[in-house]
Symmetry: C2
Subunit: 260 residues, 2 copies
Amino acid sequence: MLTIEYDGSGFSGWQRQPGKRTVQGELERVLSVLCGGPVELAGTSRTDAGVHALAQRAAFSGEYGIPTERIGEAANRLLTGGGPGSVGDVRILHVEEVPEEFHPRFGAAGKKYIYKIRNAPAPDVFLRNYCYQVSRPLDAERMRRGALLLEGTHDFRSFMAAGGTPRENTVRTLYRVRVEESPLPEGGAELSLEVRGDGFLYNMVRILTGTLVEVGLGKREPEELPEILKALDRGQAGHTAPPQGLYLAEVYFDKEALFR
Amino acid sequence: MLTIEYDGSGFSGWQRQPGKRTVQGELERVLSVLCGGPVELAGTSRTDAGVHALAQRAAFSGEYGIPTERIGEAANRLLTGGGPGSVGDVRILHVEEVPEEFHPRFGAAGKKYIYKIRNAPAPDVFLRNYCYQVSRPLDAERMRRGALLLEGTHDFRSFMAAGGTPRENTVRTLYRVRVEESPLPEGGAELSLEVRGDGFLYNMVRILTGTLVEVGLGKREPEELPEILKALDRGQAGHTAPPQGLYLAEVYFDKEALFR
């Protein structure tokens, strides 16, 4: 099992697609070279184009001539462009052996996502791929109140994009929905939304975030969130926040760790 | 005269080139739409591909129907992709009227560049386009000693890349060459090299930085720098640090400001 970090800006998402540069595709290509045979990765989360990961997990199995502890460093060398100080946009942080029947998606007890918002009057060109830049002032306290109303077990159908499977069970448990605010030296603030849950519907974190941004802007009341949940209607929730603010931050295989 | 900020990662440098995406090309395209006629920009510094600017300066002249104070905001809207929170990779920070005979390159008294180095054992994929990542430990104190020996008026031919004009006068004055070190929360440090001078040869800051990195790594002594200057030979200086760590930080039109 691999733990992987990537900058999603240059990728058409996680999942392998013909003719497109994807994280799974890049990793499989490099691992196949190293292992001397075709490697197929099973990932935990199919992140969309532009979405980042601090600790995606993925696994593959087979009998190869390369020791497990060498795979990460050797793959990272192949993933880097070359030249002094050259760093790739995907990097293997850790490799470990797991039982063969282990599946990083079905074996996962939950995940943590972080969504980063930069709230300042003037945009920052250097951060355009790394956060959602909101120029009008956000009231973080209102967002916090709204966020707390989303914690718990609910049917999150209102927060599922149309691309999701329509007949799937849309009940999920969010163990934590927290908003942290830190002031920026240049004025304004960075807001960081942490969402931990046992599972997520298609675009769920981005729709949650878009709705909370509307609460922060004063377009909606925090107390509307339970009504939006009850409506079971995507049309009642807010806009879908853009992909570049979203980071897959952690995958939990131990349910206890979700609460810590 | 425009003051412009850009992330150089997605550009083939400042200067207009047919079939390539350049900062000058993008700005001229957008300003020509706004002004309803062809606009030609004269820039202060022809930054290379991958090099960033915090405050590049460029000027154009003509009689147009748009008030000067509206140009920046209107151009920035056209420079942005669109969609919520969408931010472009080049942005006009300020627009001011200057005398028609003013030229932002020949009128400049000097410039300040900043070169950012991340010195930590593990690379950061999110910063790959924004600094030079050096994994082996750098001794900032040695680099500081070397940097001070570069201040003053010298013939910098040893620090000029082959692409420069061979017969040009290669004497320049550096008013300040300073190294600042700040610890990183994850371990290691960020080093920031500030260089102020009345002019710069082709790749000069990147070769200065590469040489000081070799001093920081212990491959060279700080006291070698005067000898390297005296040699007037590019072969005596160190490697050319990569473009992504370099930021054009300020252009001075007032000579006094260079010393402040």
